[in-house]
Amino acid sequence: MMHTATITGGAATPTITSERFIEGFRWMLLSRTVEDKISALYTAGKIVGGVYLGRGQEAFSAALAMALRPGRDIFAPLIRDQAGRMAFGEPVIDTLRTYLGSVLGPMRGRDGNIHRGMPSNGVPAMISHLGSTISVVCGMLMARRFRGEQGIVGAATIGDGGTSTGACHEALNLAAVEKLPLILAVANNQFAYSTPVSRQFACENLADRACGYGMEGHTVDGTDLAACLAVFEKAVSRARSGSGPQLVVGKLLRLCGHGEHDDASYVPAEVRTRPENRDCLHAARQTMLENGWATPRELETMEAEAYETVQDAVSRAQRDPVPDASRETWAALASHWLIEGGKQ
């Protein structure tokens, strides 16, 4: 059994074509544009409930989803995966509908913001309890295995803080015992809400946990799109080819508050300014220009397009009907004949 506790993204050889990089950049850009809009709507008091954004994590999130096959594989996003959600096929309108409380959104107003999902498209709808969704992905993979479906991969994401949950441990161990094609992408953004990693774990690198499960571990610079694309291509192909679960740890910094209610003043300035904590979107933009994959004008066009897409989705979602309690069925059971009729 191979124990590669730290393959750096760079070393993970699949070389990235310009097409791939540009596609990744587009998802990152769209994600940032959507989230900037949601943030503005939140400030304007137009959002129902809380807002949690993925600023600074777009490269890591998009690269994971791009390594998967929408519709066939499984992708279980968490609260900072706007980029990955869209790269895996979530329409922008679903995002806006959920945040703006449209009854036409995937959760119909019953649940909101980052809890949206489409299980039938391979996207489980996360519950808040961190770590709980990893074993759900294991179960979806078991279902595919029972049905004899070949070459499926399932990915779940989690943060540095979420790795402290018992659920995360039990699910990884189960995946290793069953040798499931599971990817766990750990976005180590150095904080869990306000809590620095020094109060969260004492190991040098969370990827060091891989060998304790008998799974393969990978570490990557989460601000480097090319490195992220490479490491996830490698991890996903290893999982797909039967090498069992893969732990991929990305180092990056959350470039926003925990939620939009949080100014993140607890993040020291000297941490924000460290070069390794750069903005992955700016870095990708630089790479595009340096390699001549896009001219400044072309980038402006991309930005304009992204802006259009988002504006369009916002105005559509804002015209949507909101939930109407009188039309709500209040049915928690699929077996409707077993529902207790307001016996109170």
């Binding site: 995937p106 959760m107 119909r108 019953r110 649940d111 809890h115 999902g117 489409m118 299980p119 039938s120 489980p124 709808a125 519950i127 808040s128 309890h129 709980s132 969704t133 990893i134 074993s135 759900v136 992905v137 294991c138 179960g139 979806m140 993979l141 078991m142 279902a143 595919r144 029972f146 049905r147 018992g166 659920a167 039990e170 699910a171 161990n173 189960l174 015992v177 049915a331 928690a332 059971l333 699929a334 077996s335 004949w337 077993l338 529902i339 207790e340 016996k343 109170q344």
Partner: protein, 321 residues
């Protein structure tokens, strides 16, 4: 031929595995070993690859079953003891129970919970957990008291498109026998009047049904006709059958093995008081276990839980009022 409550549970699982390729079973020591109580004996042999040993990871066991269920399978999870489901509690009430309502995608699975007290089992191998799960929306909670119900309710549970908690009572596993498996079957959600009477109604479920029936037989000797209702499923709870019985007898005692605060007996008494107030000729009564952890020593355990004797005296009190 005679079949026990435990064998009925095994037969139901065998039938489900035979008839539906979407069914599989997951739990600790259930494969080659056949489970701590042998409820899956030979099933791994007869259905290769569909009865799997799990690590000691109740949270992940449950999460795995949920993932499989929302992806088209019909998992059965065996908890080694109901008491250990406390570690799957979050997955059950927050993930399984909310899934259909949140997403519109059903989560069809059955969690088998070897429940209830037996002599010398102590605080952590004796619990009755129906109350905590019944409190949460999105779950069906079954408490079979007979060999026939253990069989037919488990089979029906596996066909439901919702998460079902199947509370099977360990005290009944080996003691309780029937001549054959039932042809008839009363659907889930309906209570059964096991013994009809005139003077008082005892509403109960699971192992306490048999203690209550013994009490009724004793009281018969003094000419009291006690009607005994077996709830069978505590959520949904068949209020109509309970009310119909109280309408006949005018007196109600609700008996349960679980802890006294809240739970089935509170729900039954509260519903009858609200919906059948004018049917009552006397204050409704409850009988539960004592409000302490479940004692290990039989001398204490036999007093901690309701018994035929304590049920009988509770009924006598009720008849006096």
């Amino acid at each position: 031929m005679s079949i026990t409550y435990l064998e009925a549970i095994r037969e139901a699982q065998a039938k489900a595995l035979r008839e539906d390729p979407a069914v599989f079973i997951y739990g600790q020591d259930i494969a080659k070993f056949g489970g701590a109580f042998k409820a899956t004996k030979n099933l791994a042999r007869d259905f290769p690859g569909r009865v799997l040993d799990s690590p000691i990871s109740e949270d992940a066991m449950m999460g795995m079953a949920i993932g499989a269920a929302i992806d088209g399978m019909r998992p059965i999870v065996e908890m080694q003891f109901a008491d250990f489901s406390s570690l799957a509690f979050n997955q059950i009430i927050n993930q399984a129970a909310t899934h259909f309502w949140r997403t519109g995608v059903p989560c069809p699975l059955v969690v088998r919970l070897p429940s209830g007290g037996t002599a010398g089992s102590g605080p952590f191998h004796s619990q009755s957990v129906e109350a905590i799960y019944s409190h949460y929306p999105g779950l069906v909670i079954l408490t079979p008291a007979t060999v026939g119900d253990a069989y037919s309710m488990l089979l029906e549970a596996i066909t439901l498109n919702d998460p079902v908690l199947f509370c099977e009572h360990k005290f009944l596993y080996y003691h309780l026998k029937a001549d054959r498996l039932p042809e008839d079957r009363l659907p889930i959600g309906k209570a059964r009047i096991v013994r009809s009477g005139l003077h008082a109604t005892v509403v109960t479920y699971s192992a306490m049904l048999h203690e209550s029936l013994r009490a009724a037989v004793e009281l018969q000797k003094d000419g009291y006709e006690i009607e005994v209702v077996d709830l069978r499923s505590v959520k949904p709870l068949d209020t109509d059958t309970v009310l119909a019985s109280v309408a006949r007898t005018g007196r109600l005692l609700a008996v349960g093995e679980a802890f006294p605060w809240g739970g089935v007996t509170a729900e039954v008494v509260a519903r009858v008081a609200s919906e059948g107030f004018h049917l009552l000729d006397a204050p409704p009564r409850r009988l539960n276990s004592k409000d302490t952890p479940i004692p290990y020593h039989p001398n204490l355990w036999s007093v901690h839980r309701p018994t035929a004797a304590s049920i009988e005296s509770a009924i006598r009190e009720l008849l006096k009022q």
